[in-house]
Symmetry: C2
Subunit: 329 residues, 2 copies
């Protein structure tokens, strides 16, 4: 991903919600990232505490307690926010103006994920509203298509991307025809950034999963990234015959994207056994025996743990805190 900018001319703003680690964020910046994305204010606070920035908070910020935190954060950090609502924009404007500061803003556009973001045809109106408000500076649009990242077939994913790109271009046109410059068009994840690179209007990608990948991303055609993240587990019981019981359940590894895969042992199959245990089927195993599990979803698994144990060729070289773990507001 570090070579992506050189190859495509697009900037990379990696999403820190995946790793939640200032140390990994620092490595991404050192390798050319233009800044980091954070999912939540809490994540951005941790990154700022560690001297990491500039930051884009990709989830909308609303409500007095959060706005007050955003003001405090903006005073000490270069932070940009996503907005999809005029009332929220006005509240942010009031708070920033009262504090005597200015917040950079991207207008969040719904390009098909149907989660947050204005309709493409409404992007111009919201951009004009933001641009007219003191304390806010309109910088561009955010158009993230999270629903496409895990579409396995490349042709199908590309087709979906084209539809999202059309909506993004509609939104951009709605803004430019009001005479506003669209300096930033921030979009795409690990599964779609190669497509986004082909579109001149895109300025940056928000890929997050590429440093780790996971067993679900491994099924997505055409991605050049390798899996680096595993959960170390060990057998606690062999009483169940062909299914050994291990010490990794829902509290150790997420299953929202399916079952983990046992690394290097394709004959073994993980099964759910509750919050503290997992089952492993396919071979007779011995209590104490260790296996490595590749999570089905890196983000939700990382969020369960307090540190990365970093190993190279079987030798542990470092332990990195997952400093923003649990910072979900």
């Amino acid at each position: 991903m570090a070579a992506f900018t050189a190859r495509t001319g697009k900037r990379v703003r990696p999403h820190a919600k995946t790793h939640k680690s200032p140390l990994i964020g620092r490595m991404q910046l050192d390798r050319g990232a233009v800044g980091l994305c954070c999912a939540k204010l809490g994540e951005a606070e941790v990154m700022t505490d560690a001297g990491i920035g500039p930051l884009l908070i990709t989830t909308e910020i609303a409500g007095e307690p959060k706005v007050a935190r955003l003001v405090a954060l903006r005073k000490r950090a270069e932070v940009m926010a996503a907005v999809d609502d005029m009332d929220v924009a006005r509240a942010l404007s009031d708070a920033m103006r009262a504090a005597g500061i200015v917040l950079d803003v991207l207008v969040d556009v719904n390009v098909g994920q149907d989660r947050t973001g204005v309709r493409p045809e409404d992007a111009g109106e919201l951009a004009a509203c933001v641009a007219s408000l003191d304390g806010l500076r309109f910088r561009g649009i955010q158009a993230y298509e999270g629903h496409l990242q895990h579409v396995y077939l490349e042709a199908e994913r590309r087709l979906g991307w084209r539809q999202c790109a059309d909506r993004m271009l509609t939104a951009r046109e709605q803004v430019t025809k009001r005479g506003l410059p669209v300096e930033i068009v921030s979009t795409a994840g690990t599964g779609t950034c190669a497509f986004a690179a082909e579109l001149p209007e895109v300025t940056e990608v928000q890929a997050g999963s590429y440093p780790f990948m996971d067993s679900d991303y491994a099924q997505v055609e055409g991605l050049p990234y390798e899996s680096s993240l595993t959960v170390l587990a060990s057998v606690v019981s062999r009483q169940r015959g062909d299914t050994a019981v291990i010490d990794a359940g829902w509290k150790a590894i997420s299953t929202d994207a399916g079952m983990p895969v046992v690394k290097g042992r394709p004959e073994l199959e993980y099964t759910t056994k509750g919050d503290e245990h997992g089952g492993v089927r396919g071979a007779r195993m011995t209590p104490g025996e260790r296996i490595e599990l590749i999570p089905s979803h890196c983000d939700t698994t990382v969020n369960l743990h307090d540190e990365y144990v970093c190993a190279r060729k079987g030798v542990v070289e470092a332990a990195w805190p997952i400093a923003a773990r649990g910072r979900i507001q």
Copy 2:
């Protein structure tokens, strides 16, 4: 639950895997609990650091690194372990003997959950093995029926309990006929402890969820405990018409037992929107508006957070660290 012992004569050894908090553990001990259960060694280490005990580690401990940690822990704490394997028992015996200490042991019996534990008819042989080994002291049996806790209908749950109780009594008989005293019979959770109290052979229950409960346990007939645990969330976007988007997704609240329930607002329905977001359907909501979510599964939700914010009648009185959060090995 504090009155359970007085009413039934059975001891309570609450499971700390639910709350992972030494402060709550201390309250349970102060209210008559005979000790605490821990799911894992890491949990027991945190409880011991906080001066909480005695402890029963309910998951089998195997493999050199864990056995070494158990020896270190046993040197400074009153800790009992569950065993379901002769080879593991011998390894524990060797380690304890080498350290010049003695470990209390329960033989773990599979009474129907089909996870860990020997078959009831093999319990006597394993108990005799444990009793014969230096460094180990046989204390009784563990027979936990986790698969019954969430059977909603009371009659069906009671029927299931009878079957498990028969297996438990078979195991107990296999031990006593070898001339070994069964000082402890540890069983039952929040959903079955009332049934377990009716059986003379049961000495203690391992209930864990009762301080918090959850929306799934709320559907279990006949339990006297109320829900006390919620996740505070707020609306970040109202762009989706009848579905508002909130800031609580898989990283904030678990969905392994189904969707959370919105407290006090039965017209609202939570829907999954990924790791950082949730959807709430059923009313027009405003960005910044707050709701409280009752988790479907307390254990896995607690494990996502670093502290409890404790409120009484809407006033925050304390923040308690979830000190053993993430200690899953």
